[in-house]
């Protein structure tokens, strides 16, 4: 399987601020790649480099096999983009804006645009200056989704949309993937990433700190186990792979490393396991682990 995006050792500084610090990232063709990170971690800078809007100081980025700046025009025929902060021309209607943006790409399909406006409940006849943040975002979303692109780069595309629209958005993204398109989805909405993304990359302070499928990332993480046993469980605290174990009479709570869960289960069974709740770490917990290090 080929990669739609290949980034190697990308570095970019703005004055004294280091925005990207040897960032490397692969996005495989046909996947939805979740791109997570706190504000200012470098998500938008990475995306703007991929679009050829920003020149990196060093490192390389390859998009759909091409160079982001040298091949910008050809690449942009195959890329659709939704910026995080959508600004529209105040004197143009939403419909006019969608038309100009899709026509610049050369593939405006009026039926598809009408269908998307209908789905997202967007009034196309209002002027740009009168739209709310959510509606400005819908205009950019419709213009992007109406394009038959190979790669969709979405920078927090639904941060202003309500949950109903969120569901429609997810449905549309699944449609894109079904026909073989690739999606780079920068998002703060973890539920959205969990629902859509095949692969996730976590960026912090300009570098990727973690990348992989959600399943594989969870496997490496601690499972949270709450159990009730007939007899007190002994020696839990000293077992490898067990963390924060708390025994309170017949109840025990602990975090267990993925690869040691089997041995812990044997131990619990031996103590007369009565009930057990085990859940994988949520994306939020995984993120907090990485983000937390920044403030620690």
């Amino acid at each position: 399987m080929t990669n739609s995006i290949e980034i190697r050792d990308l570095t970019k500084t703005f004055g004294r601020t280091v925005a990207l610090d040897r960032l490397s990232l692969d996005v495989r063709q046909g996947e939805v790649h979740g791109f997570l990170g706190p504000n200012g971690a470098g998500k938008t800078t990475t995306i703007r480099i991929l679009l050829g809007l920003v020149r990196p100081d060093s490192g390389t980025a390859t998009v759909l096999g091409g160079h982001p700046i040298r091949d910008a025009v050809d690449l942009h025929r195959r890329i659709a983009y939704v910026p995080g902060d959508v600004e529209l021309w105040p004197q143009l209607t939403g419909g006019e804006t969608i038309d100009i943006l899709t026509r610049l790409r050369g593939d405006g399909d009026p039926t598809r645009i009408a269908e998307l406006c209908e789905r997202f409940d967007l009034d196309r006849t209002k002027k740009g200056r009168t739209y709310s943040k959510g509606n400005r975002q819908k205009v950019a979303l419709v213009a992007a989704l109406a394009s038959r692109a190979d790669l969709y780069i979405l920078d927090e595309p639904t941060s202003g949309l309500d949950p109903l629209m969120e569901a429609i958005f997810q449905d549309e993204i699944r449609g894109l993937v079904a026909r073989g398109a690739t999606v780079l989805l920068s998002s703060h909405i973890l539920g959205q990433v969990e629902a859509l993304a095949h692969t996730v990359s976590i960026i912090r302070e300009g570098s990727i700190v973690e990348t992989g499928t959600l399943a594989s990332m969870r496997h490496l993480r601690r499972t949270i186990v709450q159990a009730t046993t007939t007899n007190p469980v002994n020696g839990l605290a000293h077992m490898t792979g067990v963390h924060h174990a708390q025994v309170d009479g017949d109840r025990v709570t602990m975090e267990v490393d993925g690869e040691h869960i089997g041995r812990v289960m044997l131990q619990l069974s031996a103590a007369g396991l009565q009930s057990i709740v085990a859940h994988p770490p949520t994306l939020e917990q995984m993120l907090l682990r990485h983000y937390g290090e920044a403030t620690r």
Binding site: L51, L53, V54, I69, A72, Q91, L104, R105, A140
Partner: protein, 540 residues
């Protein structure tokens, strides 16, 4: 290479579509200057005898500060034409506004688009690297060709020599392109459109001053000096149009425009979209302790702009002040019509001082409107909303803005008056003129506050109406500076907010007009405060 220009055509059409109203008004407004002036001349200078007084006026070396090198005005009065007067006196103002059109056009279509982030969504589409800038330059080219063509056509329609008319039109367009080029460069430097257009405006102001000083330094019978040649505005006037037509300065203008545009393109390729060549500076992590009320917030937001206006007007008062002696010497030879403007020959010194004070009054009124447009932008940009969502009352917010601008206007006016007064005093050692100049500036304050209160009242109706506050300011400037020469009727002069201000120190102090102006200003402000408290603040 050609790929870097992909989509230039569609972007040009798109830019023209967005700008169809504003740009049409600019182009037609500039072109209308010609029929307006030519019609006025036919009334004012109906016979050759009528032309006699203005010959002296134009030929006066001191006045070249406000006109030009004056080619053709030293011919025999019988040979003097309306066209020569137009080219040597009023054309400069047409050139000035054409340059302004280009600065605003280029800034609006390049840096403002990037600053708002709209350029990003365009550049992320199938659009070549140089396409947005190229389409902007082409739009400027079209606008300048239209302005030049219409001006030439209008002059020919008024029985002007076709070849000279074409030269004047072409020169106007070429000068416009120079400032399109200047703005192409300045817009690359900072990430903010106001900085880019402000820098281009400073280049225009410098060109204006250098041309004025250079031409004024020329001796009798001479037309401009080497200093003049440092200003593109002088190149335009050095075409000697309608007198001794020469086309090569047009080539100089076009070559300069081409070089500037090329530099702009080169700089644009060296930077990221949305970023400037210069890195934005960092500021303080915390607000100073005084920044805790709508009043101090208003001051914080107006501070930078106020500072640069203070610098500009201080420099201007040094410039006008340093000509005081030369002006007074030349005054005795001036024709009656100009002496009336300055209050009569016997008071040459105070007359020039009065003219200076009047000029600053107009400039401060311009500042007042620009400053209030910034206030309106606070609301339009949604930045007023979080402030008004605290326990700040709308009336207090607006009153704070008014007070800050009013104090700045008064302070800059005071500084300019003191400097001008000191220069005037140095001529005869009569430093009482400092007090006279300050009194003259103080007498002008109610008229400027009237303009400011009008802007506030318009804002209270709707922020986008603030632009109408320009009408009395522009009309007032034209009436105060050209009213006598143009013989504008008294009733029409009432639109000027400065009309009833006593022209001190040349005229006596009269209290009544100042009381009336203050009452009008207070009424407009009161209406504004009341209306603003009672209307909705539309969401962003």
């Amino acid at each position: 290479m050609s790929e870097t220009l992909t989509a230039t055509g569609p972007l040009l059409r798109f830019a023209a579509r967005r700008d169809r109203v504003k740009l049409s008004i600019w182009v037609l407004g500039l072109a209308a200057f010609v029929p307006y002036m030519m019609t006025a001349y036919k009334t004012i200078f109906a016979t050759p005898e009528d032309l006699a007084p203005i010959v002296g006026l134009i030929a006066n070396p001191s006045l070249t500060l406000f006109t030009g090198p004056g080619y053709g005005v030293d011919v025999a009065p019988t040979e003097l034409t309306h066209q020569i007067i137009f080219a040597s006196v009023y054309w400069l103002y047409l050139l000035l506004f054409t340059a302004l059109m280009n600065i605003l056009l280029v800034s609006r279509h390049t840096r403002l688009e990037e600053q708002t982030g709209r350029a990003e969504i365009v550049r992320a589409s199938v659009v070549g690297r140089y396409a947005p800038l190229t389409s902007t330059v082409l739009l400027a080219l079209i606008a300048n060709v239209a302005v030049g063509g219409l001006i030439a056509g209008a002059l020919i329609a008024y029985d002007s020599d076709p070849s000279s008319s074409l030269l004047l039109g072409a020169t106007t367009g070429a000068l416009g392109l120079v400032f399109a080029g200047v703005t192409t460069v300045t817009s690359q430097l900072s990430a903010f459109s106001s900085a880019g257009s402000g820098l281009a405006g400073a280049v225009l102001a410098a060109s204006w001053v250098i041309r004025g000083v250079g031409d004024m330094a020329a001796g009798p019978g001479e037309h401009g000096t080497w200093l003049s040649w440092l200003s593109p505005l002088a190149w335009a006037q050095q075409t000697r149009v309608f007198h001794d037509d020469r086309w090569w300065p047009v080539g100089l203008l076009l070559a300069t425009a081409a070089i500037l545009i090329a530099v702009g393109f080169m700089l644009s390729a060296r930077r990221d979209v949305g970023a400037g060549i210069l890195q934005p500076r960092r500021g303080w992590a915390t607000a100073p302790t005084w920044l805790r009320s709508p009043l101090t917030l208003a001051w914080r937001l107006q501070r930078t702009q106020s500072f640069w206006w203070a610098v500009g007007l201080t420099l201007a008062s040094f410039m006008y002040g340093s000509f005081t002696g030369a002006m007074v010497d030349a005054f005795a030879e001036l024709p009656d019509i100009f002496q009336q403007l300055m209050g009569g020959a016997e008071v040459a010194l105070s007359g020039y001082l009065t003219l200076t004070v009047t000029m600053f009054r107009i400039m401060l009124a311009i500042f007042a409107v620009i400053a209030w447009q910034k206030v309106a932008a606070e609301e339009v940009g949604g930045r007023a909303e979080p402030v008004l969502a605290t326990d700040v009352r709308p009336a207090a917010w607006m009153a704070g803005q008014f007070l800050v601008i009013a104090v700045v206007v008064a302070a800059i006016g005071l500084v300019a008056a003191v400097i001008s007064g000191l220069f005037a005093g140095s001529v005869d050692g009569d430093y009482g003129l400092v007090g006279d100049a300050v009194a003259g500036a103080a007498a002008g304050l109610p008229s400027v506050l009237m303009v400011l209160a009008l802007a506030a009242a318009l804002h209270a109706l709707a922020p986008r109406l603030v632009v109408f506050a320009w009408i009395p300011v522009v009309a007032g400037a034209l009436i105060e500076l050209f009213g006598e020469v143009m013989q504008i009727p008294d009733w029409a002069r009432q639109i000027s907010p400065f009309e009833h201000t006593p022209a001190m120190p040349a005229e006596e102090f009269t209290l009544l007009p100042l009381v009336v102006q203050t009452v009008v200003a207070a009424a407009l402000l009161a209406f504004g405060l009341w209306r603003f408290s009672h209307r909705d603040i539309p969401g962003h």
